[in-house]
């Protein structure tokens, strides 16, 4: 699994690793959905998407790669809370440290076990280590 939950007194912390930035964003999204469902297997994320398939194009700009990661995850949180959508397929069309263009596919969210209030910037740093690695703290 390209992500794991790590211990944090009050909130949730997720360690994610991938070959490149596109992979890091995608795996972070899957990790976040898994945490919200209190499940840790990827197939459960896919089982969450129900009904007719929905496609959304995403265009985001940010000041650096960390901000881009936060903006991307926040976008997904917003779509789950305001429109009840969950995405399981991410086609990254263009990406660099300050810009993301992606086509996402998913469906209606069956239910979420737990509420994520926000994605934080707490000690957020994307590190190079045989690919890329990051630890993300969520406020829950």
């Amino acid at each position: 699994m390209p992500f794991e939950e790590i211990s944090h007194t009050a909130d949730w912390s997720l360690r994610v690793w991938a070959q490149d930035l596109a992979g890091l964003l995608t795996e972070s999204a899957r990790g976040m959905y898994a945490l919200a469902n209190a499940e840790s297997s990827l197939s459960d994320v896919e089982e969450q998407a129900q009904g007719p398939r929905v496609r959304r194009e995403l265009l985001l700009k940010a000041v650096d790669a960390e901000s881009l990661l936060v903006a991307f995850l926040e976008e997904l949180l917003y779509l789950s809370e305001s429109e009840g959508l969950i995405f399981d397929k991410f086609d990254i069309l263009e990406i660099n440290e300050t810009k993301l263009n992606a086509m996402m596919e998913g469906g209606a969210l069956r239910s979420l076990e737990k509420e994520i209030k926000a994605v934080t910037f707490h000690n957020l740093k994307i590190r190079e280590s045989d690919g890329l690695e990051v630890e993300i703290v969520f406020d829950v």
Binding site: E5, I6, S7, H8, T9, A10, D11, W12, A36, A38, V63, E66, S67, V70, A71, E74, Y78, S80, E81, S82, G84, L109, S111, L112, E113, K114, E115, K117, A118, V119, T120, F121, H122, N123, L124, V137, D139, V140
Partner: protein, 483 residues
């Protein structure tokens, strides 16, 4: 990692990390804790986070932390930091995503013995009338223009629309309306998240709890408040829901570049901030107050629904089933207050994140009947354990920027609690003790297991011994409604 060797003991209940500990500190860290509670504090990164908080530009005095403190993100939970107004900074992360998360306490004239046969029904009705859980809509859905009136007027909106009484407003911090709220500084996205969530509890550690007043410690203060031993009371713990989360999210993201504009260096990006006299800082203050007004209305609507559940359950069975408000306090907020620092009265923004305002007798803004006793401080315990009603003191004004603790404080991670406890077993155990539980998620319930928290009694003993709050009453839970 900070160890006990880095701390100077001031008294049995007070410790200091001197400003000399790290070169970028602008003040010291003051910790209210007994030696035992300090061990919990030293076991996670909360003190590193408190040291980081001392780097906020314009910091006045020490960053003060309460005995229920624990690791958060950026700024520790249980932390208090004051920055000079208006040239100092305001930091959204030092207030938290759940802006004006807080507690409301209502009390009744219903004796516990007469209520016991009806508690099951009461819990069911509370669960039915008070929406809770992830992704659940609130009691009312408002249009965007109506929502903007909620954001501007706070509890006054609830009064005008029949959800509140004048007496409720009088016993709410700021009378339920923060002045200077600016709905224009709240994003469309935040408004969209909030408009369907007004009057909803949410999930996580939020709850509605029916209690019995088990013991009175200060007869005079309890009589003024209307708290009587052996009678029912209700606590409501929630905040500004998705609207507040989005306001904080928006400004933390915007301030990532704003800090460069004002040449502010910080050890953690979550602490990003802006001078209060800058356009960006002023915008956040306006948006934060708007979100806080939303939270006041949210708790007011839930109080309204709670009264309905009480009326339907106890009308005809009890002589007087009405619930009167003791107080409503915020424990995640930035407030402009005047405090005396080294003999000088200074206007500051007091950031309280998981800390409660605890103004002493005679402080401005308290309702007339509380002028002599001090402000009620509401300290909910973890699920199934005691909760406390305290009052602020003169000492809290001089030693903790008029602040005290806000709860038990977590000590075990959610992932560990989830592995160690079962929601189902926990519900049965609490049921055996006569506590009725209504919970949307068994996994969520396991994460909130009482043993994942510090002992609230030890936390309250500490602030009481330190003199920054005084005990008035202890409450024991009878029914808990959670998302």
């Amino acid at each position: 990692m900070i160890t006990q060797n880095d701390l100077t003991q001031i008294s049995e209940t007070e410790w200091e990390i001197p400003q000399s500990y790290r070169s970028d500190m602008r003040g010291s860290v003051r910790i209210f804790a007994t030696r035992e509670l300090l061990d919990h504090v030293l076991s996670d990164k909360s003190l590193e986070q408190a040291v980081n908080a001392t780097t906020l530009p314009g910091l006045v005095g020490a960053v003060t932390v309460m005995p229920d403190m624990h690791q958060g993100y950026g700024f520790p939970i249980g932390g208090v930091a004051a920055t000079e107004f208006p040239q100092g900074v305001v930091s959204p992360g030092a207030i938290g995503y759940d802006i004006n998360c807080g507690v409301r306490l209502l009390a009744s004239q219903i004796e516990v013995e007469s209520a016991i046969p009806h508690l099951e029904m009461l819990a069911t009705r509370l669960n039915q009338y008070c929406p809770s859980g992830v992704g659940k809509d609130g009691m009312v859905k408002v249009s965007i223009p109506e929502l903007e009136r909620v954001l501007r007027d706070g509890a006054k909106w609830a009064l005008k629309n029949g959800y509140a009484t004048q007496a409720d407003l009088a016993r709410t911090e700021e009378n339920g309306t923060f002045k200077g709220a600016d709905p224009r500084k709240v994003s469309e996205r935040a408004k969209n998240r909030g408009r369907s969530q007004l009057g909803s509890l949410g999930a996580g550690n939020h709850f509605i709890e029916v209690d019995v007043v088990e013991e009175i410690y200060d007869e005079k203060a309890a009589a003024v408040m209307g708290l009587r031993e052996g009678y029912l009371a209700v606590q409501i713990h929630t905040g500004s829901r998705g609207l507040g989360h989005q306001v904080c999210t928006d400004y933390v993201r915007e301030f990532q570049s704003v800090v460069h504009r004002y040449n502010i260096q910080l050890p953690d990006r979550e602490l990003v901030c802006a001078p209060m006299d800058s356009p960006e800082g002023a915008a956040y203050l306006g948006a934060m107050r708007a979100a806080a007004n939303f939270a006041f209305v949210n708790r007011q609507l839930l109080a309204h629904a709670t009264r309905r559940a009480f009326e339907e359950t106890f009308a005809g069975k009890s002589k007087n089933w009405h619930l009167h408000q003791i107080y409503d306090i915020t424990h995640n907020m930035g407030k402009i207050e005047v405090h005396e620092i080294k003999g000088k009265r200074i206007k500051v923004c007091v950031h309280r994140k998981g800390a409660t305002r605890a103004f002493g007798p005679g402080a401005p803004g308290l309702p007339p009947e509380y002028q002599a006793i001090g402000q009620p401080v509401l300290v909910p315990g973890s699920m199934g354990t005691a909760s406390w009603v305290l009052v602020g003191t003169q000492d809290s004004m001089t030693r903790s920027f008029g602040s005290s603790c806000h709860g038990a404080g977590r000590m075990m991670s959610r992932s560990k609690a989830k592995k160690q406890f079962s929601g189902e077993i926990l519900r049965h155990e609490l049921g055996d003790r006569g506590i009725h539980i209504r919970a949307g998620s068994m996994k969520g319930l396991a994460e909130e297991a009482p043993d994942a928290y510090k002992d609230v009694n030890a936390v309250v003993e500490t602030v009481s011994q330190a003199g920054i709050a005084r005990k008035v009453a202890r409450l024991r839970p009878l029914a808990v409604i959670k998302g």
